[in-house]
């Protein structure tokens, strides 16, 4: 038995992806409630492999290994950190899906669960891809699975949102391919470590290629102003689709962006261009996302635009190209996952769509209200939350590099967060209930509780962030060391 466990641990990078894929296949063959159990089991197993790897390599100082098994995988620090984060979000979303299955036609529910698992598995695959071919296939698989998940929602408006997502993602795919063509022309390689180490003579072509790939992934992460699909997609998604796309899909894309930027930053011919592109995109996303969140009247749209502002902060961190910047990005990514779970999970649990639906929700649904409030205070960047910690680390890294304007962008995001986050809290606790509780009925509604509790606990990790900081620092140091 022990030998089998060791064998499984040795192949953990492959297993954390393939267990989710296998569970997706099994889920499609089973009735709804059985498929839910299978989906939760598959996601949990994947999470066990991911967290075991993180404990061994990021916190335990173990040896990283390059693994080739049918597909070429490269396990670097960000792969492991991101996979653990994605599998955590996926487990939370799939457990909560027990309360959301009623939103689907009976025969569609197993497919929805399978697609959610596909999103998780494919983004983990993208995080571990060694070359641009594997990365492209994995990213597009994840994106198409997310679009299909949205389209499966019972309401017809979801199909309208899915069409927006599909066309935006298709443009992103074309940009990625053009970028890969230019990089191959300039470097003669598609392997990420070889690209990072290549002696590049056609620097302009390489920088343009890297910029196009960054742009393509940023589009899929919902970074403003490339977030045309964001509002349409989220406001029309049902509970499960919103949680999976918001907490797993967007996080996966951002983690891939962090990893790619780490590799590109090591190539002198590309590093500066990519850094400037990331900084411009990041600054724009902070400002545009914050302003749109202030004006939003739909809770899911507000959460999505606030996520775009947070994503902008992550891009600013990565643009610094230093270990401190990458570590700050990983902390902000964790904060983004917790906030997305809290807001989208709270909205699903409370049956809330518009901000008016929040009125008095803190009394009607205390746990959902507490989760949304926690997400809101993290968006404000209040002390003791992960939102604060992530922004503090960005200010530290930015000021250390002389990027005072990045610190200004963070302060702007926090001020805007006070407006829209404060509006959420005011509606939750300081208004009379405007409508009856619209969340689910019956025992299954409690399936959302673990997600809400997990979101609150992770957001409050800002109180004792030691392990998280250690893991983020180790992941960043390894990424930049491995890529060098």
């Amino acid at each position: 038995m022990g030998a089998y466990v060791e064998l499984a641990r040795a192949h953990a990078p492959l297993l954390m992806m393939s267990t989710a894929f296998a569970a997706a296949v099994l889920a499609t063959l089973s009735p709804p409630r059985v498929s839910w159990v299978i989906a939760c089991g598959g996601a949990l197993l994947s999470a066990v492999f991911a967290f075991d790897l993180a404990l061994r390599l990021l916190l335990g100082g173990g040896e990283f290994a390059f693994l080739v098994e049918a597909v070429a995988l490269e396990t670097d620090g960000v792969t492991i950190f991101g996979a653990a984060l994605l599998s955590f979000a996926s487990v939370a979303a799939l457990v909560a899906a027990g309360a959301q299955l009623g939103d689907y036609e009976k025969r569609a529910a197993p497919f929805a669960l399978a697609l959610a698992l596909m999103v998780q598995a494919a983004w983990i695959g993208a995080l571990g891809a060694r070359d641009l071919i594997g990365l492209f296939v994995a990213v597009e698989t994840a994106w198409l699975a997310a679009v299909a998940l949205l389209a499966l929602s019972a309401e017809r408006s979801a199909q309208n949102g899915a069409m927006r997502m599909l066309s935006a993602g298709g443009v992103g795919a074309a940009l990625f391919l053009a970028g890969a063509a230019l990089i191959y022309h300039a470097t003669g390689a598609l392997d990420l470590p070889r690209i990072a180490a290549a002696h590049i003579e056609m620097a302009d072509a390489a920088a343009l290629g890297a910029g196009l790939i960054v742009l393509s992934i940023a589009l899929k992460a919902g970074v403003a102003p490339l977030h045309e699909w964001l509002g349409a997609g989220f406001s029309r998604a049902n509970g499960l689709a919103a949680i999976v796309i918001g907490a797993v899909g967007v996080t996966g894309a951002l983690a891939v962006l962090v990893r790619l930027a780490g590799y590109f930053a090591q190539a002198p011919a590309m590093g500066d261009g990519v850094s400037i592109a990331l900084a411009l995109l990041g600054g724009a996303s902070v400002v545009i996302g914050s302003l749109q969140a202030v004006g939003a009247t739909n809770l899911r749209r507000l959460a999505a635009y606030a996520g775009a502002a947070q994503a902008g902060g992550i891009l600013l961190c990565v643009a610094l190209g230093s270990p401190a910047g990458v570590a700050a990005a990983l902390i902000q990514l964790t904060a983004l996952v917790a906030t997305a779970l809290a807001l989208f999970g709270g909205a699903a649990a409370g049956g809330v769509r518009t901000l008016d639906g929040l009125d008095g929700l803190g009394r009607r649904a205390p746990l959902a209200g507490a989760a949304i409030m926690t997400g809101a205070i993290s968006l404000m960047g209040a002390p003791l939350t992960l939102g604060f910690l992530g922004r503090w680390r960005l200010v530290e890294a930015g000021v250390g590099a002389g990027w005072w304007w990045a610190a200004g962008a963070v302060i702007f995001a926090s001020l805007a967060g006070v407006f829209y986050g404060g509006r959420l809290i005011e509606r939750l606790y300081f208004r009379r209930a405007g409508e009856v509780y619209l969340g689910g009925a019956g025992a299954w509604r409690f399936a959302t509780a673990p997600l809400l509790i997990a979101a609150i606990v992770v957001t409050m990790l800002g109180i004792a962030p030691g392990l998280l900081l250690q893991a983020a620092d180790a992941a960043a140091a390894h990424l930049l060391g491995a890529a060098a």
């Binding site: 408006s157 069409m163 298709g170 443009v171 391919l177 063509a181």
Partner: protein, 107 residues
């Protein structure tokens, strides 16, 4: 400049033109079918760019497979939109969605 280099430049220029025009159509067109056609044109441009710049066959095959998946999925979605809304123009779909949105309750 050699003939080969000239051919590569012409092919790459054609690829960029296809990519930009297709991406613009996919991004801004109101009609779902035109969006899908734009996607196909943009992806075709990207594949021409890959071929012109000598990218490995595996990447070109992967690109063709993904292009097929996008177009097939997009066509299915367009059919579903037509069935559900009786229209595939974005303004008409958005208008119908606004009407579907439940009215805010009276306080």
């Amino acid at each position: 400049m050699t003939a080969d280099a000239l051919i590569i430049r012409i092919a790459f220029g054609l690829a960029v033109a296809l990519l930009v025009s297709g991406a613009a159509a996919a991004w801004i067109s109101a009609n779902a079918i035109k969006r899908i056609a734009g996607l196909a044109v943009a992806a075709l441009g990207a594949i021409v760019a890959l071929a012109a710049l000598g990218a490995p066959g595996a990447l070109i095959i992967a690109a063709a497979a993904v292009l097929f998946a996008h177009v097939a999925f997009g066509a299915a979605l367009a059919v579903r939109l037509q069935e559900a809304y009786g229209a595939i123009e974005a303004p008409e779909l958005d208008q119908a969605d606004r009407q579907d949105e439940p009215a805010e309750p009276d306080l």
